[in-house]
Assembly symmetry: C2
């Protein structure tokens, strides 16, 4: 029962409840997902297309500066390609695979130590699109956080300035936090 690619009806497959026109909509089991090996160059190409380096700042009264910095690395795919997300998790030796919305799932890394390792990977295997510019801002933020700079107001402002230079929908929210810090 552990072989890969057996016929329909085998419990390693989940039933296709979607479009009957899509012959590949029989989703692989986690066992199959984990068997996929990715090369560094493939990962760079795929992340150039589908990856996202994202930084948000949220109010958090218990933090010294009153705000919490939340950096994350995310790749979103339709459930039919969930095996790619598990393969990325295996490749980067960390992170989680979670529902994003509807039939979309994400591979997500939030732990600073794992984000540091991901930054090291993309420093030695540079992204080729302009996403690399975002990545470099993201890495600076991770390095500042490693030095605990996000715990004081000056460091937090520096992080927000970097995050605002990234390709982000968070800019209005970041702008608001920045103004609060400047007036506070």
């Amino acid at each position: 029962m552990t072989e890969i690619g057996q016929s329909a009806g085998n419990p390693v497959f989940k039933a296709n409840t979607g479009d009957p026109q899509r012959p590949y909509a029989r989703y692989p089991s986690r066992r199959q997902e984990e068997s996929m090996e990715l090369s560094p160059d493939w990962v760079v190409g795929f992340v150039d297309g589908e990856g996202c380096f994202h930084v948000s700042v949220q109010s958090h009264p218990e933090m010294t500066a009153g705000y919490q910095v939340l950096p994350e690395f995310v790749v979103v795919q339709h459930i039919r390609d969930i095996q790619i997300l598990y393969a990325l998790k295996k490749f980067f030796k960390g992170g989680v695979v979670r529902v994003n919305h509807d039939e979309r799932y994400c591979y997500r890394v939030r732990k600073i130590e794992q984000l540091e390792e991901i930054c090291e990977f993309f420093m030695s295997h540079p992204l080729k699109t302009k996403k690399n510019v975002d990545f470099k801002k993201f890495r600076k933020i991770i390095l500042l956080m490693k030095e605990q700079k996000h715990l004081n107001k000056e460091g937090l402002k520096q992080i927000i300035d970097l995050a605002m230079q990234m390709n982000t929908t968070e800019r209005p929210a970041l702008e608001r936090v920045k103004k609060t810090l400047e007036n506070g």
Copy 2:
């Protein structure tokens, strides 16, 4: 004046008329674009994320079966990453880079001979996402066209059946052509 990466004002750069927050919005010249080297694995990863194998069928009274089959391989990017599109053109030794819509550009291949070569590449360097299932249908269509099967009604129906199994927004249009052929 031929060096790469000179300061703003050098004519190899086009002016940034977009978002002043985006430091990379100074677009590279075609000379810079062509200097980018892509590895096969990077191309596979990027196409897994951003590539599209597309087949449409259009009415064409001069063709024997009354319809023309139009297969194409397309990669769309924002203009900030137009250099990637030129690098793909160089990598695949063919195709064109064109405006898609607004600030989006596409790398597009339509010539059957070039599509055949692209199919050979993705046969020896398989896509890892479920896009590979679409690609295989696409390749079958290219092989049928190479054998001139698209010029008679039976071959055309076979091609339409394959195209309808792909991840496509063309399905209603293909369905209409199929019905016309069956009734004709």
